[in-house]
């Protein structure tokens, strides 16, 4: 498909593909915020203050490391477990917390379960629950960007289970054929709810699936921030130079449950969990920064404290906000409400006026 390939774009990332130390410290801070926020949100769900939560503990280095290697203009196509990516993108904590509460401060108007957010101004596309559908979107957006000669890449995020989905294969095939400037970032967290990685596919690695589609697939230690950063930076440089897509398999571990509706003790051992806990990506980067002389114990404590305070403030503010406008249920189905939606809206309006709102 030589005719579908654009001229190589300019501006690859820095040649050495290593982030400066000050940047790593900032990334570490983001990873700490992700960890604290994750723990806080699990508690909020258990207390019945938010309805649901999808934790991501264990995947901080993979997510923040990947996002750190991207440019602000690059487009993110997340799944529903990408808190670290969202924070690294600069999406404000209160915006995310408001989404979890589905309150009037939620920019997506309480339409989706917690974790299913997205913000156009951060080029972070709104997630859905079906797995894999976003991978094709990332390929299409990459092709569109190339058509418009925008020097960007798109990145899709998904897990090990998603590599069995229809759209994973369709999207990788399209990306290979059209040499789309797109990065497929697979976080292999070892478990797709209760199905272990080795029962998901007979392939030795997930990354090797890229070979069938004619482009590189790489395995990277997802608990290692720098290793992830390097892999993504390299893939990005190649994509921008017209070298096509890359599949990256970041090997991580889901330290928590699949979601707050899941009990992982039913299917995996404490010993396995303990083994991975010893490889905690946040603790690992802390150690590295400490050894490089960039982080003292005192500074570290301050980072954790600041994160806790900031999140506590956001939660407190979120709980004070009113709920979403009941009549907004009919908005954004279409660009304009259709006559039948107007009629249904008027019906709800009458119902609310007559008897108030039923209990949530």
């Amino acid at each position: 498909m030589a005719e579908a390939r654009a001229a190589p774009a300019e501006a690859p990332v820095a040649a050495n593909e290593e982030p400066p130390l000050s940047d790593v410290l900032s990334a570490y801070r983001t990873m700490v915020i992700a960890r604290v926020m994750d723990e806080r949100c699990l508690t909020l769900q258990r207390q019945g203050r938010i309805g649901f939560y999808v934790p991501m503990q264990g995947q901080e280095a993979a997510q923040v490391g990947c996002a750190w290697a991207l440019a602000e203009e690059d487009w993110i196509f997340p799944a529903y477990r990408e808190l670290g990516v969202a924070l690294a993108r600069g999406i404000p904590i209160p915006l995310l917390i408001n989404q979890f509460f589905g309150n009037s401060g939620d920019e997506i108007k309480g339409r989706q379960m917690p974790n299913h957010y997205g913000y156009r101004r951060f080029r972070f596309v709104t997630a859905s629950s079906p797995v894999g559908t976003q991978i094709s979107h990332a390929v299409g957006a990459a092709m569109a960007a190339r058509l418009r000669k925008d020097p960007i890449v798109t990145v899709s995020f998904f897990g090990d289970g998603t590599t069995s989905s229809n759209d994973f294969h369709a999207a990788l095939n399209f990306a290979g054929v059209f040499q789309a400037p797109s990065i497929f970032f697979c976080q292999n967290n070892q478990w797709a709810i209760s199905l272990p990685r080795e029962k998901q596919t007979r392939s030795a690695t997930l990354a090797e699936k890229a070979a069938a589609y004619g482009f590189p697939g790489v395995v990277v230690d997802g608990m290692d921030f720098r290793a992830v950063y390097r892999a993504v930076a390299e893939a990005r440089t190649r994509a921008l130079a017209g070298g096509g897509p890359t599949l990256i398999e970041a090997q991580v571990y889901r330290l928590g449950p699949h979601s707050t509706s899941d009990d992982p003790r039913r299917y995996r051992s404490d010993a396995e969990l303990a083994e991975w806990r010893d490889r905690d990506p946040v603790a690992r980067l802390k150690q590295e920064l400490h050894e490089a002389g960039a982080l003292t114990e005192e500074n570290d404590r301050a980072i954790w404290e600041a994160a806790k305070e900031e999140i506590a403030r956001a939660v407190e503010a979120a709980e004070k906000l009113p709920s979403v406008d009941p009549l907004s249920i009919f908005d954004d189905v279409y660009a304009q409400r259709t006559p039948s939606l107007e009629e249904q809206r008027a019906g709800l309006q009458r119902e609310l006026a007559a008897g108030g709102e039923p209990k949530r």
Binding site: M1, E3, I108, T126, P130, S136, A170, A171, V177, Y334
Partner: protein, 325 residues
């Protein structure tokens, strides 16, 4: 004005949009070099290049999913599904993604694209080249569903769909791709979405149809004209959103309704119209609402002539309805 077949009118509509707007791109199986299996996209890759008229691998979910990404980025993609019977691999993309993007993002991400696909029987296509799957999509909030019945409407509705702000499923009656021709306005001809058309005026009974079935409906009305009732024929043109005002106005005028479609009867589009008449026009009705539809079977190959509604069957339904009251 130019005399064109329906498929030529589609081709001219696509050409017009691609010429006027660099954001319009097309993707699908065999649409480029081959010009589409029905030639709907004939000559367009040559004129606009392989980056805008894209021959894709054989994956409907890949075609629609890729088009979604293009739409989110700001292009106006017009993916083609070669036969509507093969749209199901893309069902998840259409129902879970296309239909819900605007809503689930709180309005941040409109997902405007036009999925074109030939539908319907009468071409000896058997189970998998004959289906009328419009009801699945009309049932889904967030989608618009458009089906033209004439060359002029085909071009005009297609161009309106391409410039609409919402996702449109544009189903083309392949049986009359070449069997029907007519005068088509040149240039950027638009026919508004959501507006039904009374294609024949009458006073005693209203026939409601869309796509290929508009033609046997007109034939039936013509047959009855000499000695029978005066039959009005309404071409819905847009199934979602339905032009409720227009269909109710017709029923209120004539007091009788017969609904025609080639899709199976059970939970078919006709059921929605019949329910609408029961809810909002019951006291105008002089007789029960009747439906002339495909049977509740898969689409048969050797017996498709028995499966498909035809003018004679419509005439019979009209006579029965007239006799009922």
């Amino acid at each position: 004005m130019t005399e064109l077949t329906l498929v030529q009118a589609i081709n001219r509509g696509l050409q017009q949009a691609m010429h006027d707007d660099a954001d319009v791109v097309m993707l699908g199986e065999d649409i480029g070099l081959n010009g589409g299996v029905f030639r709907a996209t004939d000559g367009l890759q040559k004129e606009f290049g392989a980056e805008r008229v894209i021959d894709t691998p054989l994956s409907e979910t890949g075609i629609v999913g890729t088009a979604v990404g293009m739409a989110l980025y700001g292009l106006k993609p017009v993916p083609e599904i070669q036969f509507q019977d093969f749209i199901y691999p893309a069902f998840d993309q259409i129902v879970s993604e296309v239909a819900k993007f605007r809503y689930r993002s709180g309005g941040q991400y409109p997902c405007h694209l036009v999925i074109r696909s030939p539908y319907g029987g009468g071409v000896k296509g058997g189970l998998y080249h004959s289906q009328s799957a419009e009801a699945y999509f009309a049932h889904t909030a967030g989608l618009k569903v458009v089906i033209p019945s004439t060359p002029a409407d085909a071009k005009g509705l297609l161009l309106s769909s391409i410039y609409d702000e919402d996702p449109v499923l544009f189903f083309e009656p392949k049986r009359i791709y070449r069997a029907v021709s007519g005068e088509v306005p040149d240039g950027d001809h638009r026919v508004p979405l959501g507006v039904a058309k009374v294609v024949r005026e009458g006073t005693d009974l209203s026939l409601f149809a869309y796509g290929a079935m508009v033609h046997p409906a007109l034939q039936a009305a013509e047959t009855l004209a000499s000695d029978g009732p005066s039959v009005e024929v309404v071409d819905l043109r847009t199934l979602s959103p339905l032009d409720e005002k227009a269909v109710l106005a017709s029923v209120e005028k004539t007091g009788r309704a017969v609904i025609v479609h080639e899709a199976p009867r059970f939970c078919g589009y006709g059921a929605e119209l019949a329910a609408l008449f029961a809810e909002k026009a019951l006291f105008s009705l002089k007789a029960p609402v009747a439906r002339v539809t495909g049977y509740d079977t898969p689409f048969p190959y050797a017996l498709e002539h028995l499966y498909l509604p035809n003018a004679a069957r419509i005439v019979a339904a009209v006579r029965t309805t007239m006799a009922a009251g």
